[in-house]
Symmetry: C2
Subunit: 260 residues, 2 copies
C-alpha cells in the first residue's frame, strides 16, 4: 500500500475502531505515524464523540506513542459549538448529551435550558432517560429546531457497543413526525469544512481512513476524498457487502497502510 | 352498519383510541354497548398496556357508563404472567417496565431479578433509562431469552404519544443482533387464544374493532377474525393508504357501528 502513502498529502483518521479499540492500540498503528512523519505527510484525527475533548484525545494518542498537537484533533462538539455561536447566539438549547459536552457548550457562552427551548440538540447520552425524551418531544412539537452533534447508532465501549444518538434521533422523529434538520458530526459538510481547513489541503489530495460506512466512508465519498475502510472497528465484511456505501480501499487494519 | 351488528356474535374491542382517548369517551361509544346488550351480543376488551389492570379498566369503563365485568377485560400483562408461570416457573426475569407491571408479576410468583438474568421482558416503561438498556443488552449477549409483553412503538397519553416498547426492542435488537423471540400482546397467537377462550366463540363469529393496524387489525387478519379500523386513534387515512395491512371495514369512529 506504499502507493497510497506516496500519492496523498493529507491523511484524515477516525479514532475509535481505527487507531485503537477501547483502551487497546491497534497493532502497528504507532508505526504508521512514524512513517507518515518521516514522509512529511500532514494528518488529522476526527471524532464524532462529544464525551471527550481534543486535549484528552491528544493525551490518549501521546500515551500510545503517537505524537500530535491538539489542533490536529477535530471533534463534532467543536463544530457544533462554532455553528451555534455563529448562527444562534441568542437561542436556548436543550441538550440530550453528557455533562462534559453540556459544560463545554456552557463555557463557550451557549445558553443551556430546560424550558422555553429554541433548539433540541442530540448526542450520545449514557444518562438518557424517558423524561429527556419527553422534554425534547414537547419542544419539537412546539416548533423548536432539531440538531444533532452526531448521528451514529452505536458507540464502541470496551468489548461491546452501546446506544448512541442515532436511536434518540429515530425515536424523536417517529414521535413527532419531524426530521433532523442538521448534523454537525461526520458525514456533515460542516465537519468536512473544518477538517479541510485544519489540514490546509484540497479534498483530492486527502485520504480518509475509518471504520464506519455511514459516517467515515460516506463523508469521504460525498466530498471527493479518497476513502479507506478498516475492518478493525464496527464494520465486518458481511456489513460491507450488504451496504450501498463502497469505500475505495478496504484494509484489515491501519497497519496495512505501511505494508508492501 | 346494522349488518355488522346482526352478522357477528362476538365483539372484540381495543380500548385506547377506540372506546376513549385519554380521559375522553369517544362520542356515541356508550350507546354502542347499550345496543350490543339489547341484542344479547358478547363482547370483550383487549389492551396491550401493562400499566393498568383489568380491575382498573373496569372502573374506567363503568365510570364512562359502559357496564362490564373484570373477566371481559384481557391485558397483555395477564397473558405474559400465564405464559411465564406455565413455561418458565423457575427462571429469573429482568423487566423493562413500570412498577405496577413488575409488582403484578411478583405477586403472581414470578422471580424478578437484576442479576443472573434468564429472561429479558420488555414493555412500556416511562422510567426507562440507559442503565436498563445496558443491563438488558448484557443479559441478551449472555444468552438470556428475549420476550415482550407488547410491541407497540408509541402509546397515546393525553394529547400526544410517547415511546412504547417497540423502541426498546428495536434498540436491543440492533445492539445485540438478537431478535425478539416472543410477544405476549397483540397481534400474538397467545393473546388471541385467550380472547377466543374468554369470549367462548370461534374466530369466524367474531369481529374486532381497533385503531392500530400493526396490532389490532393484523391480529384479526392473521386469525380469521373480521376487522374494523376506527380512525379515532393513532391511524389516519394517510397511514391506512400507505400500509399493506388492510382492514375489512373502516369507520370514522365506534359510534358508526350502530348507525344505519
Amino acid at each position: 500500500m506504499n502507493e497510497i502513502l506516496n500519492k496523498f498529502e493529507g491523511f484524515i483518521f477516525d479514532l475509535d475502531g481505527t487507531i485503537y479499540r477501547g483502551s487497546k492500540l491497534i497493532d502497528g498503528a504507532k508505526e504508521v505515524f512514524q512513517v507518515l512523519n518521516d514522509l512529511n505527510k500532514k494528518f488529522v484525527f476526527v471524532s464524532n464523540r462529544t464525551t471527550s475533548t481534543p486535549e484528552k484525545y491528544q493525551e490518549v494518542l501521546n500515551a500510545f506513542g503517537i505524537t500530535c498537537k491538539e489542533e490536529q484533533i477535530i471533534t463534532s462538539a467543536e463544530v457544533t459549538k462554532n455553528y451555534l455561536i455563529q448562527n444562534h447566539p441568542e437561542e436556548k438549547v436543550f441538550v440530550i448529551g453528557e455533562k462534559i459536552f453540556i459544560d463545554y457548550l456552557k463555557v463557550n457562552g451557549i445558553e443551556i435550558a430546560n424550558h422555553q427551548i429554541d433548539i433540541v440538540l442530540v448526542s450520545l447520552d449514557r444518562t438518557l432517560n424517558f423524561q429527556k425524551i419527553l422534554k425534547a418531544q414537547k419542544a419539537l412539537q412546539n416548533g423548536s429546531r432539531f440538531f444533532a452533534a452526531n448521528i451514529d447508532n452505536t458507540c464502541p465501549v470496551e468489548d461491546t457497543e452501546i446506544l448512541d444518538a442515532g436511536f434518540t434521533i429515530a425515536a424523536l422523529e417517529n414521535l413527532t413526525n419531524r426530521r433532523l434538520e442538521k448534523n454537525f458530526g461526520k458525514p456533515s459538510k460542516l465537519i468536512v469544512n473544518e477538517i479541510l481547513k485544519r489540514i490546509d489541503l484540497p479534498a483530492d489530495k486527502c485520504i480518509l481512513i475509518g471504520d464506519r460506512l455511514e459516517t467515515d466512508i460516506l463523508m469521504a465519498k460525498q466530498n471527493g476524498i479518497t476513502s479507506v475502510l478498516v475492518l478493525s472497528g464496527v464494520t465486518n465484511e458481511n456489513l460491507l457487502w450488504k451496504s450501498h456505501i463502497k469505500p475505495d480501499f478496504v484494509l484489515k487494519n491501519i497497519s496495512e497502510l505501511t505494508k508492501d
